[in-house]
């Protein structure tokens, strides 16, 4: 049945759907405005048509971020090894994502080396070592309370020596408001560049899918400090819909590469725009 025309009430409903998924006020209003413009022409629509239009507009918005969705967990062709540095605020899932990613790369026949660059958080090195054992890949470490830059340097160097395909370097969680800690990331990069000047090839920012509007600020600040080249959104197995992805795609031109959907080794997926939008609307009324 549904309503026979798009009135304010229906638009309010749309606003609620988007805001309640953490899309953010600005991007929500942008989407609503587009829908208004579209339905201004053919005024009479029922609710199911409206939902289709909303989907289309959200996908269109995601497509404006002109980055390609990955097809698989593939290691880009570069001079070996491909070096990934993983960054983000505290507790978002960096170390876990590294473990899962290592498993996927290994499964596809790549030689993987991990670097235990979080030398600060209690038992962080131990945590990554356990992931290394679980996956079956070597972990380069200098123990706790050592210089993270020198761990990163060593990991890249060992990667070169071992003819590895991928090196993934973990870093300690840090809030983007802590200037000293943000500068440390730049230093880690500089020091690993002593091994090869084009590393890291990828700076992967991990965002927690249940994070609200602060995710925008995280993306902005980490990008400024370390030139983030890719995003991973974690914990999307929860009830949170990760609508920040839409807002972030709208406001930053960084591709979302991976999504985390659980704590287990296989709970990492390639981000796919269409599937993401489908899941966004699936359980919501």
């Amino acid at each position: 049945v549904g309503k026979s025309k798009v009135d304010d009430e229906v638009l309010d409903e749309l606003e609620e759907i988007l805001i309640s998924s953490d899309v953010g006020v600005d991007t929500t209003l942008k989407i609503i405005k587009r829908i208004e413009a579209r339905v201004a022409k053919d005024k009479y629509l029922n609710t199911s048509e409206l939902e289709r239009i909303l989907r289309e507009e959200v996908i269109a918005l995601l497509m404006e971020n002109k980055t390609q969705d990955l097809e698989d967990f593939l290691v880009p062709e570069v001079k070996k090894p491909y070096v990934i540095m993983v960054v983000g605020v505290n507790g978002v899932g960096k170390t876990t994502t590294i473990g899962k990613l290592a498993a996927q790369f290994l499964k596809r026949g790549n030689k993987v080396v991990l670097g235990a660059g979080d030398t600060f958080r209690a038992a962080a090195v131990e945590q990554l070592k356990l992931w290394g054992q679980r996956v079956g890949v070597p972990v380069i470490e200098h123990g706790m309370n050592t210089d993270p830059a020198s761990v990163a340097y060593d990991a890249v160097k060992k990667g070169v020596e071992m003819n590895a395909d991928v090196v993934i370097v973990d870093t300690a969680g840090r809030l983007h408001t802590k200037v000293g800690l943000m500068n440390e990331l730049a230093k880690i990069k500089r020091v690993m560049q002593k091994v090869a000047d084009d590393v890291p090839h990828e700076v992967l920012l991990v965002l927690d899918g249940s994070t609200g509007q602060n995710a925008f600020i995280q993306a902005k600040e980490f990008t400024q400090a370390t030139e983030v080249t890719a995003l991973a959104i974690t914990k999307l197995d929860g009830t949170a819909k990760g609508g920040v992805v839409i807002g972030i795609s709208d406001q930053f031109k960084i591709p979302v590469k991976y999504i985390g959907v659980g704590e287990k080794i296989d709970d990492l997926q390639i981000f796919n725009r269409k599937e993401f939008v489908d899941s966004l609307f699936k359980t919501q009324k």
Binding site: I19, S20, D22, L130, K235
Partner: protein, 295 residues
């Protein structure tokens, strides 16, 4: 990045310039900006709507329409409202019992283990005999993490490294506390999402078996719109006594605090403001109201 309430109200009230008086329509525009400020701070959509509806009633009923500086008056109404909603009496945690058992629960990565250490340190500094119990049997190196923190603060940590039974470990820890003159046992548990039925059953079973004197729900101040669902789901299973809000040393506005307080109606008892063991504080509703509004 996000405008604070004053800036937003400036924008709304600027539209009034040149007009003789403030009409009800103008109030509506102002209310809309207040709602946006709340949404930017991650206050839940429904909660923000309820609050602004109430504020609107109040504004229309007050003298604001003829006030000299409606902006200040609006800000005061909003600020007072938020403070009242998050306030009430300051509530301490209950640590009566022999031993008293404090159970810590919440989402993955929220800051439970770190907070367990901080609370132990806080209680120890009051001269109490505390035992930490490592009951996260899932996360790699979770027990190791708690042991390191215990070592830093000089508090003993009860572990059973090979066990996969959280209930059993906690019960043994309590026995150990009794035998070793420890008066408080802080039970760190694994992180879990509210939709994970297996893990939610586990935490409910833990609560039932231990019958803790105090159960605390730990939530990250950066959490978005979903905070309410999560807080409600945990409350349904473990009927917690209080909330701990973490990572307030960052710049997240922390609207989740307001949403949780308003829907679950459990007091916020502690805040966490850093990674160090000293970074723990009581919760002050007025400060939180200022923070949410970006004042």
């Amino acid at each position: 990045m996000f405008e604070n309430l004053s800036q937003k109200l400036d924008k709304a009230l600027k539209m009034l310039k040149g007009q003789g008086s403030i009409t009800e329509i103008n109030v509506a525009a102002t209310i809309k900006e207040i709602r946006r400020a709340l949404l930017d701070a991650d206050v839940n959509f429904k909660v923000a709507k309820e609050i602004t509806d109430e504020i609107k009633e109040q504004a229309i009923g007050s003298k604001i329409l003829i006030a000299v500086s409606p902006r200040e008056m609006f800000i005061k109404i909003v600020y007072d409202k938020l403070t009242e909603l998050m306030g009430g009496q300051k509530q301490d945690i209950n640590i009566k019992g022999d031993p008293a058992v404090v159970m810590i629960a919440g989402l993955n990565g929220a800051g439970k283990t770190t907070f367990s250490g901080k609370l132990a340190n806080f209680l120890k500094s009051q001269g109490r005999q505390v035992l930490l119990a490592a009951c996260d049997v899932y996360r790699p190196a979770a027990m190791e993490q708690l042991k390191v923190l215990g070592g830093q603060i000089g508090v003993e940590v009860y572990t059973e490294m090979e066990s996969k039974d959280a209930v059993q470990i906690a019960q043994n820890a309590i026995q150990y506390a009794k035998a070793n003159n420890k008066k408080i046992v802080i039970v760190d548990t694994a992180g879990r999402l509210a939709i994970d039925e297996v893990l939610m059953k586990e935490i409910a079973a833990l609560k039932k078996a231990l019958n803790p004197t105090e159960t605390l729900f730990v939530v990250d101040a950066m959490t978005g719109q979903d905070a309410v669902n999560t807080a409600l789901a945990f409350n349904e299973r473990i009927d917690y006594d209080g909330v701990v809000l973490t990572k307030l040393d960052g710049d997240a506005r922390g609207g989740a605090a307001l949403s949780i307080r308003k829907t679950v109606n459990k007091p916020i008892k502690f805040i966490s403001t850093g990674e160090k063991m000293e970074a723990i504080d009581h919760f002050y509703p007025d400060r939180m109201a200022q923070r949410i509004l970006g004042m």
